[in-house]
Symmetry: C2
Subunit: 283 residues, 2 copies
């Protein structure tokens, strides 16, 4: 996926929001914003937006010296853990695999890269009510049936609590599930520390980090340990829009994307609407 | 009102949206966006955001050679004219002055500087249901009672159709009402041409333009003919957030602002919420 002109306002919204979370304002904020603006001017638009925003968030972390989203990550892990029993019940109430997919997609709303506010209850309602493409689900179900080793690419803190529902469903079907989180804090993406406080280690067969701060999955930055798992997995479950942006060009049929459509650029590309739930094979 | 860091994403959203309306994209769009970015970097943040965005919209009009919002202005004049009989009925159904103020504020939602989409029916519902500050309305009612000559600073095309309801209410009370529109097309702000197709000339005592393309009212750019009216009016009704941004520092007690709160920066400054309806004296 390439970057579009419409991505620019979103980049600046991310900069502005992240500076606010970092407690940086006034002249210092303007200096950092100017540097971020220079980055946006200099990059190639042939790359995915997530690659550009990786540079922006890296800049703000370096310049501010803080992890701006540390607190909000803790908060949403806690909120999601409180909801976990209810979400499990919702997921198990009909077809368990489909329900667990819907739970995992609902959690994808906890994204402070894109949203200013998160309405988790509404996301749950939507995710359990909106249509999920039948053919995609049948393919996914078939891929799950055939797979032994599953690589689960996590997205955000908080969201990973709901990912546990799908991961547990896969484990109960005898799959070996390795969950992957970020190697360095970036936006509110989950790291190993967040995974621990979300109880992910109790659900997945193993939890590893990918060794870097890339938004989405920037394969060239990933650790050899991650790449070893990536190469050998039978099924790759990829959560979130950024993983879609950065992995779609791989056309790797083992990969299924699960995410909420969060921006008009992605919506247009997929011929979907903002807020739609997506389960799709990467073909 | 000064510009805040949070205004930057909004500037870039305006640039991106306006380029789309102008039919400019690709490399040409990037060049214009880069120039707009340089403008944002070079301006003083001590001035109102509307002053900065005036420069951005001027740049895009000059570089693209078109009036990007021409069509959308025609469309919304037409839509608002279709709704005018209903809106008049709503306004007249209780206290006519209060109802007409609410109708005029509802029309303020037709703003393509800020919104991607406009939900006029929802704006009407909200504007007739949300609280209007009692003391402000009493002061306004009193000022109307005392005034002979009213200067009415219009904002957007489409919106001016609903302004007719308030203007007619003032005329029926014997006031002389001069409506003011922009001298040059900027965003979807009303010009003389829009005023004519909206029927504003049939409602106001006179319709004049302010001689310039400033977003809001930039007094130093206004024509002598406008300033003459401005200096001598008994009551100034100022529509829209940009007029608030650019006139609030005048502290001119003859002025009442009528607008929808459309952004978090203005909301924070006024201790109001986004979407609130505002009627306030400029003191």
């Amino acid at each position: 996926m390439r970057t579009e002109l419409e991505c620019l306002p979103c980049f600046f919204r991310q900069i502005s929001r992240t500076l606010a979370y970092a407690g940086v304002n006034g002249d210092r904020g303007r200096v950092i914003t100017r540097r971020a603006g220079s980055i946006i001017e200099s990059v190639s638009f042939d790359q995915a937006p997530a690659r550009v925003s990786t540079l922006l968030h890296r800049l703000i972390r370096e310049e501010s010296g803080v992890d701006p989203y540390r607190k909000v990550k803790e908060t949403y892990n806690r909120i999601a853990l409180e909801k976990l029993p209810d979400v499990r019940r919702m997921a198990y109430s009909t077809d368990r695999l489909a329900g667990s997919v819907r739970a995992a997609i609902a959690g994808n709303v906890i994204d402070f890269g894109i949203y200013d506010n998160v309405d988790l209850d509404r996301a749950l309602r939507d995710s359990f009510e909106l249509p999920l493409a039948d053919t995609a689900f049948d393919e996914f179900s078939d891929a799950v049936h055939k797979a032994r080793r599953v690589l689960y690419l996590c997205d955000n803190a908080g969201e990973i609590v709901f990912d546990r529902v799908l991961i547990e469903t896969l484990r109960d079907r005898g799959k070996e599930v390795t969950a992957v989180v970020k190697g360095v804090p970036v936006i509110n993406d989950a790291t190993l520390e967040d995974a621990r406080s979300a109880g992910l280690h109790g659900s997945a067969s193993a939890v590893i980090d990918n060794g870097n701060d890339g938004i989405g999955t920037l394969l060239e930055l990933c650790s050899e340990a991650f790449l070893q798992e990536y190469r050998t997995a039978d099924l790759i479950i990829s959560k979130g829009q950024a993983n879609y942006e950065t992995l779609v060009q791989e056309r790797d049929a083992r990969t299924f994307f699960l995410f909420l459509v969060k921006c008009p650029v992605v919506a247009k590309g997929l011929r979907r609407k903002n807020g739609d739930i997506v389960l799709m094979a990467n073909r």
